[in-house]
Amino acid sequence: MKLVDQFQHGLDAPICLTWELTYACNLACVHCLSSSGRRDPRELSTAECRSVLDELQRMQVFYVNIGGGEPTVRPDFWELVDYATDRQVGVKFSTNGIKITPERARLLARSDYVDVQISIDGATAEVNDAVRGPGSYRTAVTAMGNLAEAGFRDFKLSVVMTRQNCDQLDDFAEIAERYGAQLRLTRLRPAGRGAEVWNELHPTAEQQRTLYHWLVANGERVLTGDSFFHLNALGSTPLPGLNLCGAGRVVCLIDPVGDVYACPFAIHDQFLAGNVRSPGGFAEVWRNAPLFAELRGPQSAGACGSCSAFDSCRGGCMAAKFFTGLPMDAPDPECVKGHGETALAALGPGSVPRPSGDHSRRGRGPGPVPVQIGWAPPAAGLPDRACDTSPLTGLAAAGR
């Protein structure tokens, strides 16, 4: 059996998993996958988090990707990181940089078991802050400077690819190089608040082609978390990685209240497999949840089965389909052959699922919540590049 088939049937334990520790966040990014903002009163306690980590150690999960919300705002965050690494469970945590002080950076640089991922979504403050909120670029750059200064090599610089930043690929690579970081690019998913902005922010068909060729040219130096396998149909060189949907097979998500979902991009009742607080804990959910059994079984390829590109893209991303209202056996909404576009156009009103959870901060509040998506009127000054057109430009042409 080929390795990829083996993975298709699931592993005894996930290779890595994503654990969102809190829904609290100091930012309010317009595309937040988990619709984060406010802490949920039901979030796992320190003791409960420790017992999840004990379980991950027993299952020999090599590392956990901790995110949120902004995980570092949890008062017990650093304690939990130490607890994990003391048990040989590596931690990579994703942060906007708010708590990465020079002193903290020095502590982090000492451990082989901790990796840090700083998020920016624009190579310039203008492009970044339009999505992540005012001041967020400066916060991230300060954090990267602190890590570099502390000698933390190869931390990750993580970028969600959007219509506005796709033309900044070389600039991102340059920033990563400047700070001794490794660049990681991931796909914009229409999950959480991302569902509201996906139409305007997802890359055009032309940008997808550029991205694919750029990724092929840069090979394994650029990480992608396997997020762009739907682009493989664009050429004969597959992108590095497993190139399969790992949902419930090799990855999954634990959310702040202990709910286990098939993947980090699928926080919705439809993909809820169980909760770590139930008897048997996480291991029981991973091994025996009916949803995971279903995902590990044969999947219908639907209309994609007859497409010449099916072997390279395997129908694309389950979450991207679901949150745009497409059935699971439909083409990916960003299908490079344009079939997704056609399928989306055929959807009736009300096809897009309603979100099943939302922790966004209410009202305008003190936070940097952009009330409207997209750009301020041109008079207010547009970003200098990549954005000198309306965010809707190219939408009609996408996927042709």
Binding site: L3, Q6, D12, Q60, F62, Y63, Y113, D154
Partner: protein, 89 residues
């Protein structure tokens, strides 16, 4: 990096953790944060046996790798040495 020499003693790198799986094992290197796959049970046995043999051949013997597959296994082990999963001792 020196090239792989099966006449020398090797070991699984101390920063590498092996997790058994039906197909072989997953190997994760905590220092390079790279995941790799040991795609057969015999390869896993070989990697684990390296520490107790004066050369790689002894470990292949212990793991029961048949003679006709030796060349393929040495190629795989050379790849693991290059990736730092195994190292000279």
């Amino acid at each position: 990096m020196s090239s792989f020499d099966p006449d020398l003693p090797y070991r699984c790198a101390p920063s590498v953790s092996l997790r058994p799986e039906p197909f072989g094992a997953l190997a994760y290197d905590f220092s390079t944060r790279r995941l790799s796959f040991l795609k057969s049970l015999e390869l896993v046995k070989t990697v684990r046996a390296l520490i107790s043999h004066p050369d790689v051949h002894g470990a292949l013997d212990q793991a029961g790798v048949p003679a006709e597959q030796r060349r393929a296994y040495l190629t795989a082990l050379a790849g693991l040495a290059e990736a730092g999963t195994i190292q000279p001792r």
